[in-house]
Amino acid sequence: MSVNNDQVRHIAKLARIAMSEDEIAALVPELNNILGWVEQLAEVDTDGVEPLAAVIPAKLAFRDDVVTDGDRRDAVLANAPAAAHGFFAVPRVVE
């Protein structure tokens, strides 16, 4: 499988990266090189092999349903590029 300019533009959109046309054009051969290289996995017989997501069988621990943290609004907002009235501030979303 290989990608063209349109597909790379689409991936950039999914990834929310506003790339210039030059950046997209440069990425097409780079991504194709990498994709071509990883495609060697197709030759591995994986019939009947379960996909492995975690090396340590994860058993999520339970804990008592009590508050362990919180009440730190100002600390949480301290690094925000924009904050107002105790909230993160973003460009207008709804007209």
Binding site: I11, N33, I34, V38, V55, R63, A80, V90, V93
Partner: protein
């Protein structure tokens, strides 16, 4: 008095306890060394006042008889760790002046054990790189130079390049690093020091900026095996704030150190002999085999049949996880924001385009692609299946041996700029390191000698899950026999 920067963690600890020097004197010496080493670009942020404050506490604790395990020891901290009130950059522009309002579990443990912080260490952006050249703060320069008389700047490796350079150049007696696909072991090998990635889950990932969460592990880099054992002991332990943290006691690794390998079997995997690797690497590997035999171990040939597929597997899984993890950098909650014409989506796009460097974008794009509708099974699920086979390879090999010995990297350090044009050539640097990462196994690099140009080469020891002790002990056996004392000349 001895130059205190010539001493390692254990020597400083014992000297401080014995009254040979004060913690203040140690901190002063390393703060001065950090300032004198700025030409290496190893630190992104220097925190001499933090090191001094910790030293003064250590001096008071010694006076009152309340010594802690790392009292008097100043450390460098990779800039991937959240440090309360001290900027954490992850080597990226996108975090701006982010000053975490909390402390990572690993650094909190180190500081609670009495250690101080010399500063935050430079690294590849979001730990994505093998040469430190992807850092938004510029490449770290290795203290090592080739013996050809040229002054070409060499890479210290990556992504923990600032960490490795700081230890090799004696700017810090020990440091933290992180390892996703070799980022502790390869820089340790390139700079003639030791470094260990523990079993996945030993060190809490809480407060460590996430790259690929199923692979990321913290660990120490230091001058020798004992120092690594001391630091790893302080960094490890169960943490309910990390859902993949291992709920197991931390062994007394330093106390358990023994270079007597009688009754141990060392596996030598035939698939790690690959074309194009310099003969010097094979020769060093063979010397390593002899050293471990001399230490009493039995040598057995083993097979890890899926080794050649580890790297392409990694370059699907790691970018996929990264593309998901790095979605949080949206210019809303922290970091730099770039305003754009339009609305929220345009702000996201402009912020991420300006904030991420080329390699990070490349990996986010690969990751987004392999996770996208229509390609998920062909790439991502396939890679997860091959990963299962790689894990199975190791499980079978460990029926016949106790530890595995391999080279750490397929070459010595290369020049800055020599491999930046070819991403795949750069990725191949981690060909020996990545399989143990995919299997979550403890693995360390120790110096194995120098090449014809006088540059360090590393030997890697891979152990069973939870058997850091076996890895450290084999590392110690090599260290005692290699006679590796070569140091870079202080030209900086």
């Amino acid at each position: 008095m001895t130059d205190l920067t010539s001493l390692g963690v254990a020597q400083l600890r014992d000297g401080f306890r014995g009254g040979d020097m004060s913690a203040r004197e140690i901190a002063d010496a390393f703060n001065a060394s950090v300032a004198a080493g700025r030409g290496l670009n190893a630190f992104v942020t220097e925190t001499p006042e933090n090191a001094l404050a910790a030293a003064d506490r250590a001096d008071r604790d010694r006076a009152s008889g309340a010594l802690k395990p790392l009292s008097g020891i100043p450390l460098g901290i990779k800039d991937l760790f959240a440090t309360e009130g001290v900027r954490a950059t992850a080597g990226s522009r996108i975090l701006g002046d982010f000053a975490p309002p909390y402390e990572s579990t690993v650094t909190a443990k180190l500081f609670a054990a009495g250690a101080g912080m010399l500063g935050k260490l430079n690294m590849d952006e979001f730990a994505m790189g093998s040469s430190n050249e992807t850092s938004a703060f510029g490449a770290v320069v290795s203290p090592w130079r080739r013996s050809d008389g040229g002054n070409m700047s060499l890479t210290p490796g990556g992504s923990s390049g600032g960490s490795a350079a700081a230890v090799a150049a004696r700017l810090a007696p020990g440091v933290t690093g992180t390892d996703t696909g070799g980022s502790i072991r390869q820089p340790a090998a390139f700079t003639g020091i030791s470094g260990i990635k523990p079993t996945y889950g030993r060190c809490s990932r809480w407060g460590v900026v996430a790259f690929a969460s199923s692979l990321d592990q913290a660990g120490p880099l230091a001058r020798d095996v004992r120092d690594c054992a001391i630091l790893l002991e302080a960094m490890s332990g169960y943490d309910p704030k990390d859902s993949t943290s291992l709920d197991a006691p931390v062994p007394a690794w330093e106390q358990g150190l023994s270079s007597d390998l009688k009754g141990k079997r060392v596996g030598v995997p035939r698939e790690y002999r690959i074309d194009g690797v310099p003969a010097e690497i094979d020769a060093m590997w063979e010397r390593g085999v002899q050293w471990l035999r001399d230490a009493g171990a039995e040598i057995v040939e083993i097979s890890l049949p899926h080794t050649k597929y580890a790297l392409p597997t990694y370059y699907i899984i790691a970018p996929a996880e990264a593309s998901s993890n790095l979605a949080r950098y949206d210019g809303v909650r922290y970091g730099a924001r770039v305003a754009a014409e339009g609305g929220l989506a345009e702000m996201y796009g402009a912020t991420r385009d300006a904030g991420f460097g080329a390699e990070v974008k490349r990996r986010i794009m690969i990751g987004t692609y392999v996770l996208s509708a229509g390609f998920y099974d062909a790439y991502f699920t396939k890679a997860q299946r091959v990963r299962a086979l790689i894990v199975r390879d190791f499980a079978r090999a460990f029926e016949a041996c106790d530890v595995i010995l391999t080279p750490t990297a397929p070459s010595a350090a290369f020049g800055i700029g020599e491999k930046t044009d070819d991403p795949i050539a750069m990725y191949l640097n981690d060909v020996f390191a990545v399989p143990a990462s995919l299997a979550g196994l403890p693995a360390m690099s120790v110096p194995g000698g120098v090449d014809g140009q006088g540059l360090p080469l590393g030997l890697q020891i891979i152990g069973r899950a939870m058997d850091e002790q076996g890895v450290l002990n084999a590392g110690l056996a090599i260290e005692e026999r290699s006679g590796f004392t070569t140091r870079p000349e202080a030209w900086w």
